[in-house]
Amino acid sequence: MPIQLYRIDDRMIHGQVVVGWGQPLDIHLLVLVDDVVASSEWEQELYRMAVPPEMDIRFESVAGAAACHDEFAGDKRNSIFVVPDIPTMQRLVVAVPDIKSVNIGGLHHRAGRNQKLRYVFLTPDEEKMLSDLASKGVTVTAQDVPSARVVPLEELVSGEAAA
């Protein structure tokens, strides 16, 4: 399947995505799913200049990504979908039932969030949203880079992995 990863990452396009995942998975297409970025030429230009020439980047709203999902899935190039937060991924999964696994790549500290991993902090509401995803049959795991251990949702939410 050409779509290699559905990733939640508050930095969206950055080194771990472009290089850390991009090179080992031979990624040639990034799909950034964010309603704000999808409606802003300036934001798009910012991210467009952040990807290497051999990598294409598309900007989609959640609705746009859902409408184009089959096109991306049929693209011969390996791709990664990136969203900035859990609510966006939740909306995407509802709109695209084909999504069966979600990677949490980076959700950093902010007020109200508790540390779960070095690179994952969650509010109680966000934990519930992830559990809801899992209850819909989506496999939710955390992993910042390919060489890191895959942390299952249960372990992530329990906080055991942060200890």
Partner: protein, 131 residues
């Protein structure tokens, strides 16, 4: 750190992944004694908003040059966001040691020196032998 370096005001921020900035500045200090011209930051554990906030703070204090490591890295994206709303701020991505060494010898004109330093950094990447 040399006594001269202690007396100078920083003229640029260096930000990157992990210990990238600290390592580069340490090398600049060892070679020139001018490491104090550079403020080192790591993006580790920081949200984009936190990075922007910290960078904006330094720019409000008069810093006009931001060096970053990876063109596609979060630090570069944050620096470009900050530069877009700040007059006269220069962002140089892909910085290396030769570029910083060139830069710290022109502390009075940092924004003008940044472009030349970037060229020096590019020119310094050389391959000998057969790859």
């Amino acid at each position: 750190m040399s006594d001269d370096a202690r007396a100078v005001t920083p003229t640029a921020v260096v930000i990157g992944h992990g210990g990238f900035a600290a390592g580069l500045i340490s090398a600049v200090e060892q070679i020139t004694g001018r490491g104090a011209l550079l403020i080192g930051l790591s993006n580790s554990g920081m949200t984009p908003q936190e990075m922007q906030h910290v960078m904006k703070g330094y720019i409000d204090e008069g810093i006009r040059v931001v060096f970053t490591d990876l063109p596609g890295g979060s630090a570069t994206i944050c620096a470009r966001r900050v530069s877009a709303v700040s007059n006269g701020v220069v962002v140089v991505s892909g910085v290396n040691l030769p570029a910083l060494l060139d830069f710290v010898f022109s502390p009075d004109m940092p924004a003008e020196s940044a472009g030349r330093a970037a060229l020096r950094g590019k020119e310094s990447i050389t391959v000998w032998g057969q790859g």
